[in-house]
């Protein structure tokens, strides 16, 4: 199953990012496991320098901004 990780130490923008991701999943009907990663060490280990960030199956798709709904839709349905 597709695994989506939302990285962010818990700022408002990170919450919005998670909402966008969940909405994209709901709209496309794609099944995916969404994990919120807020531990700073885990963030560094994943190579994240700017938050919020989103990774799909361990590949970072966006960092430093809230992704747009269309973008997330494209990521989750591109396979």
């Amino acid at each position: 199953m597709m695994k989506i990780k939302v990285y962010g130490p818990g700022c408002a923008r990170c919450k919005q990012t998670e909402e966008v991701v969940r909405r994209a999943l709901a709209e496309t009907g794609v099944q995916a496991e969404v994990e919120k990663v807020s531990d700073i060490q885990a963030l560094a280990a994943a190579g994240i320098l700017m938050t919020p960030a989103v990774a799909v199956n361990e590949v970072i798709k966006v960092a430093g901004r809230i992704p747009k709904l269309d973008e997330v839709r494209a990521w989750v349905s591109a396979r």
Partner: protein, 361 residues
Amino acid sequence: MGQPGSAPQSAAWASTTGRRPRFAGVWRPLLAGAPLLLVWWLVYRNLAPFAAWVTYQVLSLKPGGLARSVEFFVFETPKVLLLLVLVVFGVGVIRSFFTPERTRQILAGKRESVGNVMAAGLGVVTPFCSCSAVPLFLGFVTSGVPLGVTFSFLISAPMVNEVALVLLFGLFGWKVAALYAGTGLMIAIVAGWTIGRLHMEGQVEPWVYSGPVAGHTQPGVRMEWAERLRYGRDAVREIVGKVWPFVLVGIAVGAGIHGYVPEGFMASIMGKAAWWSVPLAVLIGIPMYSNAAGIIPVVQALLGKGAALGTVLAFMMSVIGLSLPETIILRKVLKPALIATFVGVVGFGILIVGYLFNLLL
């Protein structure tokens, strides 16, 4: 991921395949942009007569305090907003070339002095938000960027930013903007170097160095020009969208001071003669957290009423460059002694800048 074209929408990573020539896609938006730029220029040039016309003809105000305030507001607000849109767009496009990953790669393993200078410079062009100061700090330090070099970056990134420079240029002229940028970079370089010399690696929370080495993000990516321009447009939407209320309020307060506070009123409080005004300005400025957009118009108005430039610069730098929220965030990775050193060294640098300009100008 990594298959070309699988995510045409993603802005930063994993998009292009490199089949198209380097500047493909730049011409059409450039052609579309030229008339816009012309309109921008015409509007910008005619703001002063427009403000006078609104003040004295439309509102038919008598020359005096109110008229001065209104004219100031009607002139400065559109001017600053126009400059902001243009510069934030330009800087947004430039920033699409400098991701933090790339900056880190450049700085990793650099020798101190050279590294400090480069880090301060890169701090200006690399996208940065104090909310991600901690992951950035971790990512830099664990991948071999020296501590002092990391600090040079962390000092210059918030202090010498495009919003501050636009406002300084718009309200004070290019000389003050250049002075601010130059001395801001200087402080970032020297303070970072000093922190490096003090060998305070022991004052970083121990788990930082014992944790896993920072992973490396995606391979180098080439963006197409259309994407870079979109990056610039998004920057305008995000930054100008966030900052404009502060600009309005700041200019409104500035306009009030402009019209009603008597000339020379600030001379006794923030003038050259008052030696204690510089340290006081720094002390008041550090815990204050306002973005550049709100503070600069106010400060500009104070300058017109007899405040000394050095004192004013020091105040601005400490408000913009050192903020309480950022130090609280950094407490997660730094021990109090290092935070105190950081604030102390930077504050001291700002103090010197303040005195220097009061002496020279």
